[in-house]
Amino acid sequence: MAPVLEVSNLSTVFHTRRGLVRAVQNVSFSVNAGETLAIVGESGCGKTITALSLLRLIPMPPGEIVSGSVKVDGTDLLKLSDAEMRRARGKQIAMIFQEPMTALNPLLTIGRQIAEMVTLHDGLGRKAARDRAVEMLNHVKIPEPERRAREYPHQMSGGMRQRAMIAMALACKPKVLVADEPTTALDVTIQAQILDLIGDLRREFGTAVVLITHDLGVVAETANRVVVMYAGRKVEEAPVGEVFANPKHPYMTGLMSSIPRVASARGLTGVDATARLTEIPGIVPPLINLPPGCAFSPRCTRSEAQCTTTLPELELKAPDHLAACWRA
């Protein structure tokens, strides 16, 4: 099966007064229809910029996608004209955002915000678009969809808004759905519902999902494959079971030992569930003027001389398991 979404060597930079910020460097991954790929990493590691780059929503200037390709069903989105890209957004590739409180327009009804998209891409009339909006709200299990469609975002709870957001993103049945931390702003109980919903719709519509998250619990529950990002680069990629069972990159190991609950809950052996919670010392380095060598080396407990001088390439460390580390 050919992957629906194929991203190769994507690099996005920001031209700032202080210098060139390499937010995303040479990132590649692919997702099949009906599958979920999780991109994980700390804040500032380039996850969101990667997501926005897929839809070409990076503010330009100062941002610029300098190289790579983003192919949806073989069409490279980065080569499309602006008008063609607009037609692709929402129809080929749609996005849901982190903050359901601010991601919906406060002055337009939910129904109108969904219908607007259907009218635009599927050329439906007013009435038909409205019906589709109600149908989609019903689909995301919002009770009384007729009434809710006439309501404004402020009349809904956070979970309800995120459902509406998902209804909107899936209204035109896009091939790829990019979900940028869709549950971070929600209550834990609502989180599970939203993730289940995304999972159900993914199976039903055969959508390829790119899930951006920093929550390894979410990853374990929903993803098929995992891409680990650090300082703008992909440092590890493997199927979800493999990553948790056998993490290669010290960064991933570190992330997992900061959340021992995940491993113990799934009966995986990556870390000892009874061990004291550990943290990764330090923070993600600023992406301006990164030193040569591995960007993680200053925080890495296993770093050696070679790590600080030469950048490790991504290599197969096990079957279907890529990692970029000299010590793995």
Binding site: L55, M95, A103, L104, N105, L107, H154
Partner: protein, 314 residues
């Protein structure tokens, strides 16, 4: 909703009551009354005659009594007589109101139709040449007093056509429009500049919001994103300012009516103040206050129409 409007109307009555006391007292604090002025400048010399004028006009009564007489009349719809022309105040004011109202209306219309679109363009093309040009224009609009701008316009007319646009109540067609629009532009330029600046900053703020990015992610065109999603949100603070500007407009009207020789109420008010024509000034000020308060109520109601999050009342 209805209870809110009723509450606002009651509040309006309180405000107008306050205005009536303020203008009544202010006029009495200003040195001299009409009798003094007649004697000082118009050359009357007989003290008995002065006393008679003061007594006739009731200016020797205690202040609370004078106030009660005025308000009593006002509530019965009797505005009294002008001290100067000795005609009923209502007959003096009524024909002049449409002239000023039209000028104010056109000025407001000018400031909104100029300010909002130019502000949007300025924001959408932030830091471009167009943006800088428009920002200089709006800065000059805020710094140019309207009488100076009016004079510049008049001078330009003299220079290029050799004539001055003189107010003519029988003007028609092109001339009528010119006589309306040129003074209106002079009055409204300041408001236009203010609205432009505000729209620009408000738009810049809104364009950074998440929901604008969401709108883009849906594949909407730049136009739909800017006007349908962003401007609707950005226009909220602009509506507030339009309400405030309605009050400020009065100052601009006074000088502009003077510069362009327009026989409206604004210039007439200044004339009445100079003569200490109490009934005239008091009633005109009450009328203006009424208009300003009403406009502000309408602005608040307009807010509710645009923003569903705002619901007044219980």
């Amino acid at each position: 909703m209805l209870s809110y409007i009723i509450r606002r109307l009651l509040l309006m009555v309180v405000t107008l009551f306050g205005v009536s006391i303020a203008i009544f007292l202010l006029l009495r604090i200003v040195p001299g009354n009409i009798a003094d002025i007649l004697f000082d400048s118009a050359g009357l010399i007989d003290p008995a005659e002065k006393k008679k004028i003061v007594a006739d006009l009731g200016l020797d009564l205690p202040l609370p009594m004078q106030y009660a007489q005025w308000i009593g009349g006002l509530l019965r719809g009797d505005l009294g007589f002008s001290y100067v022309s000795e005609k009923p105040v209502i007959d003096e004011i009524l024909p002049r109101i449409p002239i000023t109202a039209r000028l104010a209306g056109f000025a407001m219309l000018f400031s909104i139709t100029m300010g909002v679109p130019l502000g949007v363009i300025s924001a959408v093309r932030q830091n471009s040449g167009t943006d800088y040009g428009l920002r200089i224009l709006s800065l000059s609009g805020l710094s140019l007093p309207s009488f100076w701008l009016g004079l510049l316009i008049l001078m330009a007319f003299v220079h290029y056509s050799g004539t001055i646009p003189i107010y003519d109540r029988n003007a028609s067609g092109w001339n009528w429009w010119m006589l309306q629009l040129i003074p209106a532009a002079a009055v409204g330029f300041r408001s236009a500049a203010l609205i432009m600046r505000l729209t620009r900053s408000s738009m810049l703020e809104v364009l950074r919001q998440d929901y604008v990015r969401t709108a883009r992610s849906k594949g909407l065109s730049d136009g739909a994103v800017t006007y349908d999603h962003a401007l609707r949100n950005a226009v909220l603070p602009v509506i507030t300012v339009i309400g405030v500007e309605a009050a400020f407009l009065m100052g601009g009207l006074i000088v502009t009516e003077t510069v362009f020789n327009i026989p409206g109420v604004a210039r007439f008010l200044v004339e009445a103040i100079r003569w200490r024509d109490y009934p005239m000034v008091q009633n005109l000020v009450m009328f203006i206050a009424f208009v300003v308060v009403t406009v502000n109520l309408l602005v608040d109601l307009a807010y509710m129409l645009v923003d569903p999050r705002i619901r007044y009342g219980s």
